[in-house]
């Protein structure tokens, strides 16, 4: 790409806001009433980690996220997003890869574990998990979009990514390679939303950065101690 400095996020936007949100509407219609099952599964994961944060519950939570990332990879990116974005199938591959990474690092060879006693970081992670599962579907409605365009955890990318960031934030020493896709998509989605003039762009861009900073600071503190 020549004269790259003349480009802005809006130059890469391939679709209108209307087309983007219609995608969620049609996705939700196709999966109805799967939204309730996804919400119940998410609430179950949250309750597990809230009541007894340990390796076993972290493993179960990871299992739920593995399914979510696969559903988003195939159901959303491959079948829907790819119809309006030339990179849609690459995103599907990235989300499927993240599902496999979570399966390996969180279920098969568990390297994720929440501390039994809540810390400030794990409380923040739990809060993010709660927000992404129960509150994120309300964001669109509060911004004036219809219910049928709600973005639901486990079925659409942004709340699934936020929930995963929450899980990683609350874990003791999450492997670095589990951060790549969630942080990458978070920043990409923030740029897309920014170009669409969607107010949630700021939050979507800030959350991954804050999570990485918090984990980095926590690791630095451990090294000093």
């Amino acid at each position: 790409m020549t004269e790259w400095w003349t480009y802005s996020p809006a130059n890469f936007l391939m679709f209108s806001a209307r087309t983007y949100y219609r995608l969620f509407e049609r996705h939700n219609a196709a999966l109805w009433p799967g939204q309730f099952m996804a919400l119940l599964a998410g609430a179950f994961v949250f309750a597990l980690l809230w009541r007894r944060p340990d390796q076993r519950t972290t493993r179960i939570a990871c299992g739920g996220l593995v399914a979510s990332w696969f559903i988003v990879a195939i159901g959303y990116f491959w079948l829907r997003y790819a119809t309006i974005h030339t990179g849609g199938r690459w995103f599907a591959a990235a989300f499927a890869a993240q599902a496999l990474a979570l399966a390996w690092g969180g279920v098969v060879r568990p390297q994720l574990e929440w501390e039994a006693k809540f810390t400030a970081r794990s409380r923040t992670g739990l809060g993010l998990l709660l927000f992404s599962i129960l509150l994120y579907p309300l964001v669109g409605r509060l911004l004036g979009r219809p219910w049928m365009q709600a973005e639901v955890f486990g079925l659409t990318p942004d709340p699934t990514v936020l929930a995963t960031l929450g899980l990683l934030l609350g874990a003791k020493r999450p492997p670095w390679w589990l951060w790549i896709v969630p942080v990458g998509w978070g920043l990409f989605s923030a740029m897309t939303l920014w170009a669409l003039h969607a107010p949630e762009a700021l939050g979507m861009g800030l959350v991954p950065v804050v999570c990485v900073v918090l984990v980095f600071r926590s690791r630095c503190a451990q090294v000093v101690v």
């Binding site: 020549t2 003349t6 209108s16 209307r18 219609r22 974005h85």
Partner: protein, 320 residues
């Protein structure tokens, strides 16, 4: 039309204007009037404004239809129906040239859907692009042709000059084999102007597509005069800066003197400014709104601004 000037505007005396197109003049004025944008005094017949393609003498309407973002609606049946309605009105008002690219996601397929629904595959002036960094241009062109559902393209352009050294020979070869009528290159946002000029000077291009509007006029200095000198038709993209320019203008009332060149709204004001440049062949505003296509096509009818009026338009836009 000024004899001998390939860039002059054609009016009803030219053989290319059919009775059907003349009738379409009534239709556009009538449709706009119904939308409350014209007074009774404006209800008069107007010929469709066309420009000659220097390479062939063929005439095309001065307003075409772009498809970047607006036609990329995927397989959404509701949105596809709206795009088809946009195309129906566009053709109904005399429009012919539709521009797209493999980079525009589902836009080529949505255009193909509309053409099939309307039975207009034979009428469209199809302007497509090749956009690949590899040597698979021919395969991409064939895939895009299949999505449009047309027997062949009228115009193929190298998208954003990407890999033009590879693609231009292929396009010239297709033209020589009569599988393609015209060859062109595109750029936008005023990028790679020097390289565009160099290609225009050295390659036998039929078309060049560039960004030009009342707020982006750098090309008036060199590139547009060069196109006139070399006999290259000019397609203008981003006439409204993807809507930003027209939104900025719509915060202000349309000046009364705009009526002197039959501009009834800001869309026509901005489009008539563009197509009145003697080097410009066609502007390609993109919309998915059927009402907007009527406004846009209104710029292909009535009087165009002369040089004095153009200066006044520039001063007015700059003052806002």
């Amino acid at each position: 039309m000024i004899p001998g000037n390939p860039f002059s505007i054609s009016v009803s005396s030219t053989p290319s204007i059919t009775r059907r197109e003349a009738l379409q003049g009534f239709v556009v004025i009538g449709a706009t009037a119904l939308l409350g944008r014209l007074g009774a005094a404006d209800l008069r017949p107007n010929p469709l404004l066309t420009r000659r393609i220097p390479a062939s003498g063929e005439e095309i309407p001065v307003v075409g239809l772009g498809s970047w973002i607006t036609f990329n609606v995927g397989d959404d049946p509701e949105a596809r129906a709206e795009c088809t309605e946009v195309m129906r009105r566009f053709f109904g008002l005399g429009g012919r040239l539709i521009d797209s690219s493999p980079m525009y996601g589902s836009s080529p397929a949505v255009i193909g859907h509309g053409l099939a629904k309307l039975g207009r595959a034979q009428d469209v002036f199809s302007a497509e692009k090749v956009w690949t960094s590899g040597r698979d241009g021919a395969a991409q062109i064939e895939e895009t042709r299949r999505r449009w559902g047309v027997p062949g393209f009228d115009l193929l352009q190298v998208h954003n000059l990407d890999n033009w050294e590879t693609h231009l020979p292929l396009l010239f070869e297709m033209k020589a084999a009569k599988k393609l009528r015209y060859v062109g290159i595109t750029t936008s946002h005023g990028r790679r102007t020097a390289e565009t000029e160099q290609i225009m000077r050295t390659q036998p291009l039929d078309f060049v597509q560039v960004t030009y509007n009342a707020a982006d006029r750098e090309l008036e200095q060199r590139l547009l005069p060069l196109a006139q000198e070399r006999g290259i038709a000019v397609i203008v993209n981003r006439p409204f800066r993807e809507g930003a320019l027209i939104k900025a203008m719509q915060r202000h009332p349309l000046p009364a003197w705009a009526a002197e060149c039959d501009c009834q709204n800001w869309a026509q004001f901005l489009l008539k400014f563009i197509v009145s440049h003697p080097a410009v062949t066609c502007a390609i505003p993109a919309t998915s709104n059927p009402a907007h296509v009527i406004e846009n096509m209104g710029a292909a009818y009535g009087r165009l601004p002369d040089a004095t009026m153009r200066r006044r338009m520039i001063a007015h836009v700059e003052s806002l």
